[in-house]
Subunit: 213 residues, 2 copies
């Protein structure tokens, strides 16, 4: 068994979705003064590598505390979408022609390679975006979640968030800001991406890992 | 496969370790005003069900970002210690006589049943405590972590934290404030308790789950 860490590091001042407040981490106890280290964290539910629960866009949708834990641990596949460039739509025909069996699949990861821009302003440029049709096709496969290596399942300049509303409206969860996808060298693997158990949580930073044989 | 959620819910004003600041969760965007919900969180690394990394007590010890992810996903056993009452020490002889095979075990959960007091002031009374000898014996079994259903691996009134220093000093991780242990009905199971990937993180709230066959 080998684990691949698909998670970006959370740190003070890291770049976040435009308009969100960057997180801060401050030591409230230190080895030097107190003989122990404890850290106070100020962060938002959608900072870093994180889960969007349906409640993020859907009133009364499932939240971090009402969703079944099984949602966040299951069989995953990855679709290589690196042929789509900045601002291009990932088409439903591309998703359909991916030679993948869908039986028993819980999570689908969309691999654009855009995460190589993490930590730079380019990360917030127009990245490849899942088309509404492609998202709809994936949701019809009865999966539990869609993971992406970009900051949003909608385009960066979206104002009405059609893909979020479609996907979360179908009760499908979203996992954003993945990294290290090039290290997944199996067609089918397990994924674990458990949100914190926040009461009425619309989402949560997570430690996302791929579990390989 | 069945997952048992071993995690207490994080919420505003929840009871925390004496001296720590209780967390707060505030909506910065709401469905009513903004058409989406986003939550700002203020919490500490040792709130709720959480991992202690060696760095919590050991300068230059492993942290949430430098520990291998494999540390937090592995084979676990649970030792029934419910015969020990408030303030009593769980003895090394009790741990030794538990009829458990140690081969291949990564995590050991100490089941006191004290989590039934969660949410009340009694939770912070003197709970059953692992003796230093018992902790040392467990660490010698080459395990990766020790989980407990109480707020600390040391006594509540400890000032020098001998068990933390011993266990974390040996590079063994600690998982505190577990719940629902009565639902684990297998001798051997898998545990997942991944910390957030916080830069230099001394610990992290986690979603801890037991994975049963």
């Amino acid at each position: 068994m080998k684990l691949i860490d698909l998670t970006h590091t959370l740190e003070t001042g890291m770049l976040v979705f435009p308009g969100d407040k960057p997180p801060s981490f401050n030591k409230v106890l230190t080895h030097q003064k107190d003989g122990t280290q404890v850290t106070a964290m100020s962060l938002e539910t959608h900072n870093g590598t994180h889960i969007d629960c349906p409640l993020h866009f859907i009133e009364n949708g499932k939240s971090t505390d009402t969703a079944s834990p099984e949602t966040f641990f299951g069989t995953a596949i990855m679709i290589d979408c690196r042929e789509f460039g900045a601002g291009e739509e990932i088409t439903v025909s591309h998703i359909k022609k991916a030679e993948i069996g869908w039986a028993g699949v819980s999570w689908v990861l969309i691999y654009t390679g855009w995460y190589e821009n993490w930590g730079t302003k380019k990360y917030f440029d127009q990245y490849p975006v899942l088309s509404l049709e492609a998202a709809k096709f994936i949701c019809e496969k009865k999966i539990l979640g869609i993971g992406l290596d970009v900051i949003s399942i909608d385009a960066i300049n979206s104002t009405d968030y059609p893909v979020h509303n479609l996907v979360l409206g179908k009760g499908v969860f979203v996992l954003e800001n993945l990294t290290n996808l090039e290290l997944i060298d199996q067609d089918v693997f397990q994924i674990a991406a458990f949100p914190l158990k926040i009461k009425n949580g619309d989402g949560s930073p997570v430690r996302a890992v791929a579990i390989l044989d």
